[in-house]
Structure formats: structure tokens, C-alpha cells
Symmetry: C2
Subunit: 808 residues, 2 copies
């Protein structure tokens, strides 16, 4: 069952009814001012940090599930009837409803009793504000006297404090209302130099800044008393809940269309110019006023909207493909790339599942997220790499998380997730392959942000590898530490106390827990570093030797007979083996070992992949492990804390699925790779939206596995490494448009029934127009025959290169 | 304007309409299982720790303001109409409505279309469960076919995690439904050995354990789809939001009355007997089933309710008074004592303003809270004192807070609030005066909970005093440290960064900030310790000498000419002086210095009190300081962060008001003392409930001062030291029934127009029947003439002593 459809032409997903299975959201903002917005206008906004600079309040997991947002109300003076043109919060049954989620904008249209309304929400480039444009059309035969009410609820900045510290916060709220602009200035009187504002393009009939005055006591947003009454209270909030609402009265003649603009924004003043006049407690509005005035105009709004769309054209222009599969095309060309950018901007901070007050940036996450956006914004990827590397420890180890505002490692979580450092090599490799910018290897980067400790980035990569080699267990496999990629496999933590962190509550010593996953990842990373070394003329043979040695170790102790084992636990017992009663086979080592090339020659790779297909693959994607753990296992930790079929306990943890797609491509099985790709492609799952439930335009972290009563139900959409990895799998491995250190390679592993595909790829400044077709194997570049196994020749910036690859 | 009335006979406050200015709440539970409940059945429950063992979910600051609770729905099968007998959540306009908040129970009655309903909520003594009794009467001429639906939303135990960590929590929820009992067992499969249950006395027509199935998508509790439809979905939650709802169908004949019981509870199993059968994942219900069955019966419920009331009779029997003032009587006899017990149970954890996930127990708070409950439960006071003292540091200093579960000092907040240690002396003094139990002074108590560091409690008291003497500033006044009683006067912290804690962000050294408040408190505490020493035959002269010396220092450097100064700041500038432009006079030093006896002889006390009356007293109570700080002062800190008139910035911070009542009593001004008492007595403010807004039966922390636009509006009711201090002021100082180390003293300072009063006071096992009357000054005890300045002779346990005090 569908709840909408894709409009590929406009790069929009069009939702046809407001009551989607879950709120289907979108993101506003691309730089510093951000927001999430649902298909019924729910959500919130923040400046840079979703916890510390929250502009508007949002209550997660409320009932209705999605309540609170960027609301407008229309009220018909003749009847007194009022409704929301975005369905929420009044839930009036609209005669027409449509939500178009576009790239960094959302447009909700509706009709009710022949009044058409369309609201467009977006954040202009370069600004710290959001524009709402309300377009009203009177389709009646008679004039319509309407009231428009706006509504936002201000958050008192620190979202965690705002939701818990009422004994203080109910006394601190302050606002100003000047020339119809509502200024929310809580704590501006003391240490803050920033405030929020909410403005309207039209003369006001009234306003409210007190939530209770606007809603009325014991009411919610579904029937605000001001709207019911048809007039604002002109309330000024003193403490309690500062709120922003404008009231505009308009008369629309038959057939008339009018636009009303609203601007909600964030502004900072210099610390020494906070007040005007100086010495007063009145907000200095001199610098913000022109900004507000500009963005209230239709011209500015139209231009800003056009520029935003243009910017996305440019970003997405990095790669556009035309394959026989529509789901592939729209995900690669639009939605997967868009999700990659959102994930870059948000990390794991703000979604419908991430409350914005949680954890910092993951060392491991950030390196993997790179894969998805490096071709669109390589300069930001460079910056991110250097930020990440600066949090690395001198041992080569890494803080598992760092704080985006301070860019420092998070001591609470600490270090010891032993796969972390290797991801830095893979992230840097991806950057180098895309850009060829080897200068980054010479960039002086400190350890643990300690001034004076700077070493070239190349040194960081060497230490990353060394970190693994310094920590090998009794089988010669890497020690796992607190966890490897699966944060939930906690082999050195034996937690029996509720609330203890599974990863960091270490209470046993002397364990020998080893990870086959890290072993495979080491082989991959060592080979990458060897290639990088070779590129810049440094010795790399030792890395190849180490990779080969580790490959042998995997063959000896990591191979179970039909698949790669997962680990050895604290006591040296195997995990992920046919000899286990549960958790016999895990997805991760099958993916990463084959990606590292392990077993590709000797056939064990193919054997492992056959086992995955046989034991882990479901129509909804590939399960993380089987059989699910039916009870909690003290020696395994969090993985077994989930009910069977959910999350890491035999859920379809989507992040890992593309590893198997890549692995299938590596062994030359294009059909198998694409089959896996289709199973979790959200667009391909659109038709079963009542099962999948999450947005059909972005990946979710998890789909419930076959052991779950809700098999096929997705959770935690948007902010997941799934986006970057699927993008890499489809573009670089299945379509085979694969950057390498020396240039772009075209090496598809497409389904047998595809006649071919075309693509346009921007690469190191040039544009490659690529055609892949069937026939005898050959390659022509700008008409000249080339070796199909070679990389494409580099072309000057601005050049266009015509590439035709023919494959059997 | 009133929203209800007191029923003194039944010890209830009766609310006549559901839409009180704010939710007016009550507390359930007295031992380990607790809840808050509003007048419309909103609120939540927890076991011991409101953060870590939250049974049901609650969203603070929601809209409607109070949404989520212990809800019941009635549905008429004939019409399909449904309503809430507690008004919320359907907000159906009821024909009759009444909420009776009693002592640890709440009873909400209503009538709608001739169906009468009464719901009684309480927690039986000794149990970890709450009982709901629904009594229905059909007043119609015809039979009524009704459905009853119950509703609670389970919290996934850790309330902070539950409200933020959705990427995990939406996958972990688990329930069982067996024999009509709903078991909420999230995380029971892993490290928890506890679960919640929700049971109903009647055969079920259906049930729901999925919130979405019960409410329906995009709905709230105001119109659950199950209720609207008239049938449950028999849903079993898998992740998302576990919920509990029973559906019962009943037919009531004309005039018939029926009762239905519900039990919501918490249960722990032994770790090795969690599952039944062992090895399964099924909750072992063997031990909990008999408990559930028992409390579903009417007999058990009736008996449990009676026992609860009896228990309160016993507790309140410690002191009952009959004065000419009804507001005084009901506060002393019922509500203030009740609030004291609630504050003892909750500390500052759980109210409508304290979200239950905040801070630990305050060292200072807990010592002061003692004043309010020591006469009711002296054995718990002893335990609390020893807990508190064990967190004291070997320096004599104190952690500012400690965690109730671990009873250890909170390192995040740390130490250095230099008034803290002196409160321990005052707390112990109160305990000794009430009980005479000098054995407590010999109790071996560690420092910082460090085994081996145990010293007699008396040693702790000595070090407390020494701590102050070791930390004197240039004027010889005590250094203030991070803050003194006013946590918001931060003289050593210069914070200009939002979000920094005002108290603990120390960023300047070498300051000399001194506190006149601590000086006064030192004099008081030193004299108390001298008296204690004298009582147990230890030398105490040095304490008297130190008190005298400090008194001289106050006279020299703490006296401003017409009042006591507040402090000297980091740079040695005076705070709370006529020479300041703002903050010229503060309430705290006026109260505490006079309480310590400073200036009582030389008339400065009376002069200071006159200044308070002139400059700080308003009809709504005494303001903390004047003039309010109009802007943020870096050198003063948090106090100036509040808008003028709120909280410590010139709000009426009620905690401090009774100090002035006591001071007035000390200087013999009974009229003045009682005048102040009446101004903030919530019962006396009942008639202006539309201004006061908080509950008229309990004290609030703060009433907005005259600089605030909402002057007279109370905030943060229930959990405040205001309760204990007002109780001490009215009972010990105005009525003058004052325990001392050697016995009970009767020394009233009552209004001139009172002919007298009577009281019954339990004291050290005996009962004193006290009559105070007008006439020539005299005292008779059991008919024998005694010296009215003496303490009453101690009487054997169980004895009744008739006391008649005659005063001019």
C-alpha cells in the first residue's frame, strides 16, 4: 500500500494523505540553521547544535505521535470554522491534501471549502532563518473573510534543560514584540547574545507570545482559544511558555490569490552591542531588522527558493545515472545522495528517532559517512577528516565519539572500540580516491587535540594500523576491545545491572576476545594504506605483508567451514560458528572479509556468500545473525538484550547489507548484488509502505528480522551509515563507477538482464559521460580505444569525457 | 476567587471544578512506591527513584499542560457516547465534578447523564502498588449498558533514557497478558529483575497493550479509538509504546451501584527465579499473583484505605492545635505537616515542577527538612542524619548533594557551599531537642563514606564549626565559597557563557567574598553546639566564645546602619548595603542573625526587622531583596539572571519568610510574626487562587515579587524547605510549643487579639494537653504551679500532661 508517489521530475516525494504510518519527515537547512519537518508540518528548528541552540520545542513520542511544529490556522469569519492547511494540528478532514518533500524544502497544499492553501517551508542559503510562504486562493463564488494565525512554541535554548528544569525555566521566559515582530529573548538578559524572532509580512490584527493565552488553559494546538475566538490576546509572556503567534485578517475576492510570508530566525549580536539603547535591557535589533524585512518580501523568498534548488542541482550533478531500474535511478540521482548530505549535516543528532540531545559525532560513523558525500563536497570531507584525525590518540586509538562544538574527544565514552582507527584509513582512502588531493597526507594534525603533538596525517594512518597489530589475541586475530563495528557485541563487559552502559562498564580483566570482523577490516585497510603509500612514494610492503599474514590467520582461525566466524569471546570460545547453538552466522565478517579480498581467490568468499544467502537473506533484507539470541547472554552483551528480530539481535541492520552487495560484486555476481540492493531499496519497498512504515525515500537503520512479530517494519530512518554504504555499493560496485587513487574506473557488476546504463559523473573537475552497453568487452574514451581494466585517463577541469564501456 | 474548599473534618481539599489555574496535585505512597496525581487524574508512578524506576510515562510542560495519567473511560453502549469520570482526558463537560485530595489518596467523583462515578486512588501501606477503585451508580430509570476502559502508558523504567533514546527504546518494549493481567516487562529479558503489572477485578471484554492500537494513529487520550469503537484490539506491544488498558462491560440496573478495582504495581523477582518455567522467557508470576488477587478485592481495598487513614491519624497526632485562626489550624493540623512528610519522602525530586530526573538530595535541604517531620517520625530523622553526616568530608566540608540510592556525595556538584556544614549542627540539634536521644552523638559515622574513617557524630559537628572558623575572610566574616543558603549568590564565579553552572564554574582565584548570612548562621550553630556539649558534659565554652566573637564581627562589618548587610564580594565590595544601587537589603541576614541572637540585646535586631517591614514586606509575602537587579551582574551570578521579581531576584522566596516570623517572635512581636505568617499561608491565600494559582493547601517555593508583572503568582509548590520552616515558625515560635534539649517549652508570641489557643503535643512519648490563655503570667502542669520560663517536666511514655499557660 502506498501513501504517496515519487515525482522524479521535481525531485519530490508527494504524500497523498496526512496519516502516513509514521510521520514522514524532511530536513530544512544545509549549513548552520536546521530543522526537521513532517508531512503535517510537525518538527522543530535549531541553530548548529540541536541540544544547545534549540529554537522551537518538540516533544518526542507524544500523542498524537507528531505534535508541535510550524503551524498555521485558517479561520472563516462567516462561519467561525477553523482548520489547519497542513492537517495537523486540527486534523480537519481536508478536501484536498498533498505534501511535497523536496530537497531541503517542504510544501504542503490543501483545499477546504474552496479555500486553497499552499505552505512552503525552506531555509535560504547563507541565512540563519526559515521562510514560510502561505499562498491562499479563494475558489468560491463569493469573497472570503479569513483570519490567518501562525504558531510556534519557543524552546528555552538548551533542549535537555528545557525539558527537565522547570523550577527555573518557568520563571525565565522573556519576549519583546516590536513592529509586529516577536522576539524570543529568554536568557538574553544574562549570558546569551542570541535571540529568536518570528515575523510576518502583513499588518497584524493581533499576536500572542504566551502559550496559555494562545491555546487557552488545558487546550492543545488542535483548538487554540485565540483561533476559536477569532482574535489574539496580544499576550506578553512572563516566564512559563513563550510562544509566537501572529494574527492576520484578509479578504480574498473570488478567484483571488494572496501570499503571506513568515520568517522564523536566529540572530546573534556582538556581546558589547546586545542592548539598544546601551544600558537598557532592550534587544538591539539594528542588524537583524533589514534581514527580517528582506526575507518577508516575495521577491527575496522566490529568489532564495530558486537558489536553493539550483544548489541542489549542482550537488546532485556529481553523479546522475539512467539505468533500466527506476528505483535505482531515483535513489542514486536524488534521494540517496540527499540522505547522504543530511547525514553529513546531522550525523546522528536529529531525526524522528534521534532526539537531538544525545550523543556526539562517532569516529567510526563519520569516516563511513564520508563515502556518501565526498564526491559532492570534497572540501567539507577534507575538513571533517582533519577534525576526526585530531581526536585520535597518540596510541593510534580513538575516542569513540567527539563533540561537534568543541571537536574534542568524549571522555565519558572514551576509547577502546578497536575497529575505530582503521576506519580513518578507509575514510582517507575514499577522500584520496575521489580528489587525488595527496596534500592532505602532509597536513599537520595533533593527537587528542594536544597542541605540539602535530604529525602529518600519514603518520596517523600508520599508527591506526599499528594500533591493531599491537593488539592481537591468542589466535593472532585483533582484540576486540569494547566492541567493534557492532557496538552491541560486548565481549569484555559482563553487565548484570540495569542502566549500565554495555560498552563502557568493563568489569573483567584478562580476557582474550578477538574479532574476525576487525581482522577482515585490517586486511582491507592495510591494502588501502599500501596503495596510498605506493602513490606517494613511501614504503608500503610491510602493510601488504601484514595483510597477507592476517589473511592467513583468518583462514586458520576465522573460517568456520562454510562462512567466516564472528569472534572469540573473553574466554576464547568461538562466536558465529556452526558449533554455537544461537548466533551461528553473522553478516559482518562475510562482508568485510570479502571486501578485504579474503577468500576471493580460494573460493571461501563465494562459499561464505552462499551461506549468507541460505541463512540470512529474507525478502526484506539480510539479517545480522542467525539464529537470534533467545535470551540475554552475559558474555555477549547488548546484542542479546534486544527481543529477537530487532536491532542487532537478528534484525536486518541495513548498514551491513551493502557490504554483502559489494562482496557479491567483488566475486562477480551482479545479479546477487543487485538483488540485495533491491530488497532494502526504500523506493522499491514503497508499495509495502504499510509494512515498511518508514519513509519510502530514505534508508532506515533497521528493518525487523524474521524472528520479529513485525518482520519488515523499518525503524530509525534517515541518520544511518546505511545511506553512504548503499550509495557506495550501487554506484561504485554494482554500476561500477569507482574512484581509485589513480583515477576513475568503470567496472560494473550489473544484473544479467540489464542491457546497460548511462551515467554522468563529475570527477576531479572533469565530467565523464558514461555509457555501459552489452557486447564484446571493450572501452572507448572520447572515441579512442582503451583497456577496459584501466582507469579512465584524467581530464582537465571543465572537460567532458565520453566513455563507452561494452561488457558481455 | 476559589476553585474549591477545605474539608477539615475529612482532612481533604475539595476541588469543585476541573480547570484549576494550574494542575493541583497530590501524592500517593508513603514508603517505596510513589506517585503524583492531579485533580484530573494526571501524573505518574515510580518505585523509590523517580528517574530510574519510573513505572508510567509523563510529559511535563505538555499541551494540555497536564496530560497522561491514571485514566478511566466510560462508554454508554446505547449512544456510543464516552467520557472521562475524572474530566481529563476527554474534557467532557460533566454534570457534577469533585476532586478530594486527601492524605496520600485522591478521590474524584463525577456525574454524567445520570451515571455517577467515583474513583479512589491510593497506595496501601507496605505494598509496592496502587489501588484504583471505581464506584459506579446508575441513577437512571432504565438499565445502563456501560463499557469501562482503563489506561496507563508504561515508561521504560529510566525516565531520562525513555524520553531521549528512541533509536533503542522503540525496539525494546515487551509485555505479557495472562489471565487478564497486563505485565510490562521491558528489559526484564536482560538485566532487570522487576516488572510492572496492571490488573482489573472483573472479567475482561478485551485489552490493549499497544498505545497506538488503543489510541489509534495520530490520536491522543481524548478520543482513543478503542473507546470510540467500544472494543479493545487485544493488542500485544512489540517495541514502540507499551500501554495498559482493560475493557470491562457491565450492565447497571436502575439504582444499582458496582465497584471495579484496578491494581497497578511494581514487582521484583529473585535474580535466579526470574522465569517460569526456568529457561523460558516468561515472567515468573508465582509470588506476585496472590498480591494482585488480594488487592483486587473490595475487602482488601477497604481495609487498606482505612489503615492508610489511620496511619495519618497517628502521624498527625504528634501535634494538633486549636487557635482562633482557621487557616492556622488546618495548616498546622493537616496540610503543613502533610507537606513536610511529602518533602521528606520526595526531597526535591518529583512534583509538577521537579521532573524526577534532576538532582540528588541536598545536604542543606535535608537538614532543614528535618524540622518539619522529626516530631512525626524521629527514627527516620535519625537515619537521615546519619546518612547525611556520612557524606561529610574530613575537612568538615560537605558535598552539596548526595544521591539517595547510593547515599554517596555527588562529585559533579562537589563541595564548597560554605553554609552546608553548619546545617548539620542545626539538624542534629532539632533531632536532639525533639527526642533527647543523645546516643546519636556517639554513633560512628564515616567521612565521605570512607570505611575506616568513622568518628562519633559529635566529631562531625565539631568539624562543621571548625570548617567555618578555618575559612574567614579579611573582615573576619566567613568566606562564602560557591554560595551560601542562596545558591544563586555566586560571588566567586564569573560566568559569561550560556549553560555554565553558575555555582561550579569557578574561573577566578584570590577572591575574598564573605557572607554575613553564614556569620549569623555560625552564631546560631555555635550556640546550639555549646548547648549540646553542655548537655552531654563536654566542654563548650570555646563555641560560646566563637559565637560572641562572630557577633562582634557582625556588628563591626555586617551592620549597615539600619539592617544587616548580605556579603562582601570577590573584590571586597559590600553587597546588601544602602551604598549599593540595587540589592540594598536582603532578607536572609536579617532573619538568620536575629535567630542567632545577634542584635537582640542592643536593638539592632529590632531596627533590622523594621527595615524589612518597610522595604521588603508586600501583601503577598516578604521579598528576598530590593531593589531588584535590573541587569545581569557578572560579579553576583545567578541571582541577577532572573527577570526582576522572580525567584531569587526579588521574588518572594518563601523559604526565607519564616526566618523573619521567628525573628519577630524572638523580639517579642507576636503580631508581626503572625502577620507575616498569614501573608504566605496558602490557606489564607485560597480566596485569591486566580492570582496565587498554585494549590491553596501547600506552600510554594516562590511567589512573584512586586517587580514582576505577575506579582502574587506562586510557583514550584510542594517540594520546598518553606514547608518545614513555616511549620517550625508557627508551631515553635508563634504558638511557642518549642522542644529544647532539656524538654518542651511553651513560649508563645501570638497576636495581641488572640484570647489564647489549645494544643495537644506528643513529646518524647508523653502527650501534653496545652492551654494558652490570657491573664497574669503563670504556668500550671497537671494542676501544679510551675515557672513559666522553665521547660515542662518530662513525663513517662504514655502519660498525659495537662498544661495551662497564662500570658498577659
Amino acid at each position: 500500500m502506498r501513501f504517496g508517489h515519487f515525482d522524479d521530475e521535481r525531485r519530490e516525494y508527494v504524500i497523498d494523505r496526512p496519516d502516513t504510518p509514521l510521520p514522514w519527515i524532511n530536513y530544512l537547512g544545509t549549513e548552520a540553521y536546521f530543522g526537521i519537518i513532517s508531512n503535517t508540518a510537525g518538527g522543530y528548528s535549531f541553530y548548529r547544535d540541536a541540544r544547545l541552540r534549540r529554537l522551537t520545542r518538540y516533544r518526542y513520542n507524544n500523542a498524537p505521535f507528531d505534535l508541535g511544529g510550524r503551524y498555521l490556522y485558517l479561520r472563516d469569519a462567516a462561519s467561525g470554522e477553523f482548520w489547519s492547511p497542513t492537517w495537523q494540528p486540527t486534523q480537519t478532514e481536508l478536501d484536498e491534501y498533498e505534501c511535497r518533500h523536496g530537497l531541503s524544502y517542504t510544501q504542503i497544499s490543501s483545499a477546504y471549502r474552496d479555500i486553497k492553501a499552499r505552505v512552503t517551508y525552506f531555509v535560504p542559503l547563507g541565512e540563519t532563518l526559515e521562510v514560510w510562504r502561505l499562498r491562499l486562493t479563494n475558489d468560491r463564488a463569493a469573497a472570503a473573510e479569513l483570519s490567518v494565525f501562525s504558531s510556534v512554541e519557543f524552546c528555552l535554548w538548551d533542549a535537555q534543560d528545557d525539558a527537565t528544569n522547570f523550577q527555573r525555566n518557568f520563571s525565565t521566559g522573556q519576549v519583546e514584540v516590536v513592529d509586529g515582530v516577536i522576539y524570543h529573548k529568554t536568557e538574553y538578559r544574562e549570558r546569551r547574545d542570541h535571540f529568536a524572532y518570528f515575523a510576518c509580512s502583513e499588518p497584524l490584527a493581533g499576536f500572542d507570545t504566551s502559550r496559555e493565552a494562545f491555546l487557552g488553559p488545558y487546550r492543545s494546538w488542535d483548538r487554540p482559544i485565540a483561533v476559536e475566538r477569532g482574535s489574539s490576546a496580544d499576550s506578553v509572556a512572563h516566564g512559563w511558555q513563550p510562544h509566537g503567534s501572529h494574527h492576520v485578517r484578509i479578504t480574498l475576492q473570488p478567484g483571488e490569490t494572496r501570499e503571506i510570508g513568515f520568517v522564523l530566525g536566529y540572530w546573534e549580536n556582538p556581546k558589547d552591542a546586545k542592548f539598544d539603547p546601551p544600558g537598557s535591557q532592550t534587544v538591539n535589533k539594528r542588524t537583524v531588522r533589514p534581514v527580517i524585512e528582506r526575507w518577508l518580501t516575495q521577491d527575496a523568498a522566490d529568489l532564495g527558493f530558486a537558489q536553493l534548488r539550483e544548489n541542489w542541482d549542482t550537488l546532485l550533478g556529481g553523479l546522475q545515472v539512467e539505468t533500466p531500474d527506476g528505483d535505482t535511478n531515483r535513489m542514486v540521482n536524488i534521494w540517496n545522495a540527499y540522505q547522504n548530505m543530511v547525514t553529513f549535516n546531522m550525523s546522528r543528532s536529529t531525526s524522528f528517532y534521534e532526539s537531538g540531545i544525545g550523543r556526539g559525532m562517532g569516529f567510526r560513523d563519520s569516516n563511513q559517512d564520508l563515502l556518501g558525500f565526498v564526491h559532492m563536497i570534497p572540501e567539507r570531507a577534507r575538513e571533517r577528516i582533519l577534525d576526526i584525525a585530531a581526536t585520535q590518540l597518540a596510541t593510534g586509538g580513538a575516542y569513540h565519539q567527539y563533540q561537534p562544538l568543541t571537536k574534542r574527544g568524549n571522555n565519558d565514552i572514551g576509547s577502546g572500540f578497536n575497529d575505530d582507527p582503521l576506519w580513518l584509513i578507509l575514510g582517507v582512502a575514499a577522500y584520496l580516491k575521489e580528489t587525488g588531493d595527496v596534500s592532505i597526507l602532509d597536513a599537520a594534525v595533533p593527537y587528542d587535540n594536544d597542541p605540539g603533538s602535530e604529525q602529518p596525517l600519514y603518520d596517523h594512518l600508520q599508527r591506526s594500523l599499528r594500533y591493531t597489530l599491537d593488539r592481537l589475541g591468542p589466535h593472532g586475530l585483533p582484540l576486540i576491545g569494547r566492541a567493534d563495528w557492532n557496538d552491541c557485541l560486548n565481549l569484555n563487559c559482563f553487565s548484570d545491572t540495569p542502566g549500565e552502559p554495555f560498552q563502557t562498564t568493563e568489569n573483567a580483566t584478562g580476557g582474550v576476545a578477538e574479532s574476525v570482523f576487525i581482522a577482515g577490516q585490517f586486511v582491507l585497510a592495510a591494502r588501502e594504506l599500501a596503495a596510498i603509500s605506493s602513490l606517494v612514494g613511501k614504503p608500503g610492503q610491510e602493510y601488504l605483508d601484514a595483510a597477507e599474514k592476517m589473511t592467513g590467520t583468518i583462514a586458520e582461525h576465522g573460517w568456520d567451514g562454510a562462512w567466516f566466524r564472528r569472534a572469540y569471546d573473553f574466554h576464547g570460545n568461538v562466536v558465529g560458528s556452526a558449533s554455537n547453538d544461537e548466533g551461528q552466522i553473522f553478516i559482518e565478517p562475510q562482508g568485510i572479509c570479502v571486501m578485504g579480498g579474503v577468500g576471493v581467490e580460494d573460493g571461501t568468499a563465494a562459499r561464505a556468500l552462499a551461506s549468507v544467502r541460505e541463512r540470512l537473506a529474507t525478502p526484506h533484507g539480510i539479517i545480522l545473525q542467525q539464529p537470534a539470541y533467545s535470551s540475554y547472554r552475559l558474555e555477549l552483551g547488548e546484542i542479546s538484550s534486544y527481543p529477537p528480530g530487532y536491532k542487532e539481535n537478528a534484525g536486518i541492520f541495513c548498514h551491513t547489507n551493502p557490504w554483502l552487495m559489494i562482496a557479491e560484486a567483488i566475486v562477480g555476481n551482479g545479479d546477487g548484488a543487485f538483488d540485495y540492493y533491491k530488497r532494502i531499496n526504500p523506493s522499491a519497498r514503497e508499495a509495502i509502505s504499510e509494512v515498511h512504515r518508514c519513509e519510502p525515500y530514505v534508508y532506515a537503520q533497521m528493518i525487523a528480522g524474521r524472528d520479529a512479530p513485525t518482520h519488515g517494519e523499518a525503524k530509525n530512518s534517515w541518520l544511518t551509515g546505511t545511506a553512504a554504504w548503499n550509495y557506495a555499493a550501487i554506484t561504485q560496485w554494482i554500476l561500477g563507477i569507482r574512484p581509485s587513487l589513480t583515477g576513475l574506473r568503470i567496472s560494473p557488476a550489473i544484473p544479467a538482464d540489464w542491457p546497460g546504463f548511462t551515467a554522468v559523473r563529475r570527477f576531479r573537475g572533469a565530467t565523464y559521460r558514461i555509457t555501459v552497453q552489452r557486447g564484446d568487452r571493450s572501452l572507448t574514451v572520447d572515441g579512442a580505444v582503451a583497456d577496459p581494466d584501466d582507469v579512465l585517463p584524467l581530464a582537465p577541469a571543465g572537460a567532458t569525457v565520453e566513455v563507452i564501456l561494452t561488457i558481455p
